[in-house]
Amino acid sequence: MIETTIPGKTNSDTFEPAFLQVLGGEAAAIVKPAKATESTGRRTALAEWIARADNPLTARVMVNRIWQYHFGQGIVSSSNDFGSLGTKPTHPELLDWLAAQFIENGFHLKPLHRMILLSSTYQQSPMHPQSAEYELVDAENNYLWRSRIRRLSAEEIRDSMLYLTGELDLKLGGEGIKDDHNRRSLYFRVMRNSPVSFLHTMGAPEGIKSAPTRYIATTAPQALLMMNGEFTYQRAQKLSESLQEVSDPAAFVTQLFLSTTGQPQTESQLEEGLTFLNSGLEAELNSRRIDFCHVLLNSNLFLYVD
């Protein structure tokens, strides 16, 4: 048995390992694991305490986090703080119910995602026939009477662009990557003294302190990055290249709209697209096709989901 003392205090009393007093403060039963002979078993005890079936806090925090990723805001919006300084849940019964379901499903994430994504709440439109009336009651849409638009995160923007052009390398695991790879942004090595410029500008956190949620600021430097930066333009070039076979301008516009925005274009969008492609000289056509891809990658149709 290893004794626990206050570091640096030579004559202090020893302590018995226990859990946070605010959460009950019960003593911890430490069992030295049979297999890991170097281990005292304390972290195992903590892990088991956190993940035990009758601890609803873990499940509540987890389902809230998943909800936050899908809806842009958690049921408890201060997702790292369920304590006395945190914010109230907007739907407390729902949070409890989801947590109970999550526990019942053996802490599996896929059923939880499926349940959320198939819900009518998730599938709502951003437009609502009574929006003028509802705005008066809940202008911030905290009660989810319509869908909330959500800008893609920095990593999602980069990965989606690479996916569209067919460049995204979906390999799992392995070593961290540098800026010049086409693997998912998740695999970037985080150099805290010199962050990845594209992700940083689009709002990825510094990677030093825990970031409970993404601040999606809308800024002019982001517009400069997306319009004048090399990365987005190169993706536009690749995207245009991938549609080289599609010579008919209308088919080109239609296919692009479907792949970048996930929905068919409207008539006016088709018309505007064709006008843009057909302006100027014959020799400009290729550069106009690239530029049209570039415009779509910059557009809110691509960067927002709702």
């Binding site: 009758d54 409970p212 999606i216 809308t218």
Partner: protein, 475 residues
């Protein structure tokens, strides 16, 4: 309301209401920022714009990276030369040195010192031009901090604590006061060389606050101060206009029926603002508009002073255009770090920055900008009276010098003192947190009232420490 599930399990989940202010309508949004999403309710508590009357509107922080020696510049210690070669007297508490040399003898500072101006401030021969502004300077001799190496010292001088992760002072100021010119960043950073700073971009980072409050590093290329400012090579401005036209058309169509979403409107405006920046930012850095006299004033006519001179002149141009906080690094890559051969190092570095800094003070004054602009000079720490490697000095965070000028500061005075050898601050000690609190105070911000809600804690720029030193304004 307490969750029923938690209640059953006996686990508290208390909530209290946070006030949510409409910060979208406010100026304090950071560089070119038009909207925020993803903020938890009450996570930003927008500070009142003027917590008390501001003396300064902007800050120019002249940062000597690596740690300049107070003993060779502003903190005159005649005893140093008398005791040269001898060990530190036993009456001194044994210092912890970064490089760990123990019992090294005192190193002489072979300088000529003179009193300057009506105030009679002591300045060494290494800074003849700065010395002419003695009556403008409030020289603080009693700074102290906790970071003993460069990473920790830099972190603390910028974020108040040696550990990484907190917002820099410039980010707090930007958060608190916003920008006066939406076409330029509120917080600009420039380096005299393309070398990494100790602790890198974290020195001007925004920590746990949104990234728009971070400092924007100006590129060394003139004409394109901001990354991605210039239109891509090969694209005509007519074509860009045409593309922007189509983009805005698509964005406006997308916005129809989604009008409650102010973020979409902000994004449309962000492209308009970006377009305006392409015109206004290069103008701000167009030094060719300056007269030959002005260029000479900053030492831009001489090779040794050209680089820092240009940056100091740029700083004045940016202040004129409403930029809030400017950080100018001299000696980027820890060049002031004189562990050995300080006699080669310090005279050269002083020559490089002395005229530009003096030129900046003269220029700000003659244009009536000095009253509103707080100019700060110093590094992450000072240096030891004991030698290192025979002819250098080690880091000294226990007593070092920084000065302030302008921005309502009473010049021609010294504040605090170190001991007789300049090792420890002994009188009117000013911790880095006091220093930061003082800078904030001069800008009209109260270090205890400026808060940002993070992880359930109202975070403050100086954590819970730091007091304004009234002597700075003659109190």
């Amino acid at each position: 309301m307490t969750s029923s599930l938690c209640k059953q399990a006996g686990i508290p989940h208390h909530e209290q209401l946070n006030s949510r202010r409409d910060f979208l309508a406010r100026a304090g949004m950071g560089f070119g920022a038009l909207a925020y999403g993803g903020l938890a309710q009450g996570s930003m508590i927008a500070p009142p714009t003027a917590q008390h009357a501001a003396r300064a509107k902007s800050v120019i922080f002249l940062f000597m990276e690596g740690g300049p020696s107070q003993l060779d510049t502003f903190d005159y210690k005649p005893l140093l030369n008398k005791m040269a070669g001898k060990p530190l007297p036993e009456s001194f508490k044994e210092p912890i040195t970064a490089m760990g040399e123990k019992g090294s003898p005192i190193l002489a500072a072979p300088r000529t010192w003179k009193r300057h101006g009506e105030s009679g401030l002591w300045v060494s021969e290494l800074l003849p031009h700065t010395a002419q502004h003695a009556d403008e300077l409030a020289v603080i001799h009693s700074l102290w901090g906790n970071g003993i190496n460069h990473a920790g010292g830099m972190m603390q001088m910028h974020t108040c604590t040696p550990l990484a992760g907190r917002p820099s002072l410039g980010a707090w100021v930007t958060y608190g006061l916003g920008s006066e010119n939406e076409n330029l960043p509120a917080y600009v950073v420039m380096k005299d060389a393309n070398k990494p700073l100790a602790s890198g971009a974290r020195n001007y980072g925004s920590g746990f606050m949104p990234a728009t409050y971070q400092g924007t590093l100006f590129q060394n290329k003139t004409g394109e101060p901001l990354l991605n400012l210039a239109i891509r090579e090969g694209e005509s401005s007519a074509r860009q206009q045409e593309k922007l036209g189509l983009l805005q058309q698509f964005n406006r169509e997308h916005q129809q029926g989604r009008t409650q979403q102010s973020e979409l409107d902000a994004r449309i405006r962000s492209y308009e603002l970006a377009f305006k920046m392409q015109a206004s930012a290069p103008e701000a850095v167009a030094l060719e508009e300056e007269t030959a006299e002005t260029l000479a004033l900053y030492g831009i006519d001489q090779k040794e002073t050209e680089t820092y001179g240009k940056q100091c002149l740029l700083a004045r141009r940016l202040v004129e255009r409403g930029v809030r906080y400017i950080q100018l690094y001299h000696g980027a890559g820890s060049r002031w770090d004189s562990h050995s051969k300080i006699e080669q190092n310090h005279p050269k570095l002083c020559r490089e920055m002395d005229r530009p800094v003096a030129g900046l003070l003269t220029d700000l004054k003659q244009r009536g900008l000095l009253d509103d602009t707080l100019v700060i000079w110093g590094g992450e720490f000072g240096r030891t009276p004991m030698s290192e490697q025979g002819n250098g000095r080690d880091h000294n965070p226990t007593g070092f010098t920084m000065w302030m000028a302008g921005g309502g500061v009473k010049g021609g005075q010294t504040i605090g003192a170190t001991d007789e050898l300049g090792l420890y601050a002994v009188e009117d000690k000013m911790h880095v947190s006091d220093f930061h609190a003082s800078i904030l105070h001069l800008l009209g911000l109260n270090n205890m009232e400026l808060t940002f809600q993070y992880q359930g804690r109202p975070e403050r720029p100086t954590i819970n420490e730091g007091r304004f030193n009234k002597k700075l304004i003659g109190g």
